[in-house]
Amino acid sequence: MDTVTIGIVVFPGSNCDHDTEFAAASFSKTTTRMLWHKEHDLQGSDVIILPGGFSYGDYLRAGSIAKFSPIMQEVIEFARKGRPVLGICNGFQVLLECGLLDGALSKNRDKKFICRHMHVRVENNRTLFTSLYHENEVLSLPVAHGEGNYYAPAETIESLEEHDQIVFRYCDAAGNVTEETNLNGSVSAIAGISNREKNVLGLMPHPERASDSLLGSSDGSRMFQGLVEHVLG
């Protein structure tokens, strides 16, 4: 393809949509479309991103109401066709709620809202989203969440491991995964997972907030660049 259209879904309460637009639009041949949750038309998007924020005020459970938005029916169909869908923070919560990814996110173990840079290790660089990272590379990405404690039953974790679906884990600067570096208490220190087909990725850290060295880290921008390069072929 000659150009890439990145569709960013906007729910009432999304608040990282414009940061995501900034990060995604910084590559040549790339345009972005903001997709209001009430629409049905993905406007020719090649990639869909569900941004961070507090869709529907996090009422009931984070992401639970967003999954029934009109646009999400199209996003689910788009994902089932093997097209790329990225969910960041609240977007990850929405992907779990609508069943495109396995597991759930509950309140952080230590009851605190965590807002800081964290190190994450790239566990799998054989996905559309992580192809420009090295395996085991340590990234510095900001997190900002109160409900990022990933949970899934043991058999689901085994299946995620078996199919290389664990894409990011919290770690220290040297890449060691320990209880201390797993700040929100996630099972197996999971920070991001993909579906089995590897075309849907959800993660709690915010790559869009680490898309320029002025922001303290540009480690996140290769995720968007990888997606753009994948579409351009």
Binding site: I65, L96, A104, K107, R109, K111, N149, Y151, A152
Partner: protein, 84 residues
């Protein structure tokens, strides 16, 4: 006819309830040393306009599975009360 569905959604016992833990510690600080645990859940009342209680019960269960509870980490119960 209508039924009031009294729906309780609770975290599975295996899931850490950080809010409940904070409440339990507060009760401990207040001197209630015999309070062993506190778990926090949600209580939701839904009015369902159906003639048959079986149909109201079916709808009550379905809305829990679809929206009100997350089956990965929550359990639910539905209690029906005839209101008119």
């Amino acid at each position: 006819m209508a039924y009031k569905a009294k729906i309780r959604v609770t975290l599975r016992p295996s899931i850490l309830d950080v809010q409940g833990k904070a409440v339990q510690h507060a009760l401990e600080n207040l001197g209630y040393s015999s309070v062993e645990s506190a778990r926090i859940g949600k209580y939701i009342e839904v009015t369902i306009n159906e003639d048959e209680s079986a149909e109201a019960e079916r709808i009550g269960g379905e809305i829990c599975r679809k929206l009100l509870a997350n089956p990965v980490m929550e359990d639910y119960s539905v209690e029906l009360e005839k209101i008119k």
